[in-house]
Symmetry: C2
Subunit: 205 residues, 2 copies
Amino acid sequence: MSTTDRRTGRRPGNSGSRAAILDAASARFAGHGYDGATIRGIAADAGVDPALVHHFFGTKERLFIATMRLPLEPATLIPELLAPGVEGLGERLARHFLRLMRELGEANPMIALIRSAAAHPDAARMFREFYTRAVLERLAAELDTSRPQLRAALCASQILGLAVARFIIGLRPLLDADDETMVAAFAPALQHYLVGDWLTGDLPS
Amino acid sequence: MSTTDRRTGRRPGNSGSRAAILDAASARFAGHGYDGATIRGIAADAGVDPALVHHFFGTKERLFIATMRLPLEPATLIPELLAPGVEGLGERLARHFLRLMRELGEANPMIALIRSAAAHPDAARMFREFYTRAVLERLAAELDTSRPQLRAALCASQILGLAVARFIIGLRPLLDADDETMVAAFAPALQHYLVGDWLTGDLPS
């Protein structure tokens, strides 16, 4: 951005503004965390009007997703997975992530995020705050069960763990298994985490 | 090690030899992987007789565990967990790792290993090869079921995922939940991974 742009508030070309916003967002999210970063602050850093940020990206959540190139949008994914009811929810969730992993392979931005969180506490905080707002709290509002945030976090731990075991450690049996086998493994486990009766003290066998 | 020690093969003090072996092992495991590192090569690098390495550490597996300060020994842990039979195996496994995580907290060497694997492909290979020999192949020999390596790797993915979600990302609901709640969540999932009928095509609900 040139000084003139900052002073006059004039927009440079759209693609230039878009790139400037993404750069500013990337730095703000890393430095202030997801919760601490604001559209206003990002717009100021990018030398554009906050309205332009909203125009291009909508919400802060969608700006974060664009900045991190995340391959999913919890705001649409969660209602979509929940729409048919809780029956089969674990299986739909398993299928969704297994397909995503299959399609993205090593280029999965989730893996870059895990690597980055493992190396930098700031990245970990950013990831944690985003995940808490976008996934845990949203699910807590929509899932009619006890301790929905714990349940969602358990699913996250299994999905994260699969990404780590496959793409960071490289465990062969998990890389070799086809998606149907993995769905058969994960669907009941995720279903149990999400809607199982285990919080009542009953231990399903 | 001084040059004199190398030339004469004389042992320095026990603690000096021990430290030299651990240093040499650390470098060899990182550079050659777990499979490629040999007791002979490590002894040569440390300037000691291979017999001394065996005397101090026993097997290569135990030397690796000592070098990485791993808080568990699969050679004893796996038979111990399997001894009472498959019933309750998932619960015993869950309890074991949850207690370990609770006791070690942030100082858990597993977390250091994950961080290191996320940053360095050599560390990832070392971890993968050790895990494959020490856990997957051992379990495959002792667990009487279809695809035991896949089953063990699924458990590993959940345990790794919990470590990542708790200590690398820092997801609050998983840090706050007490061990009994976590056992109630994980025991049936791990039991399903280890001995469930899902590989036959039956999907438990």
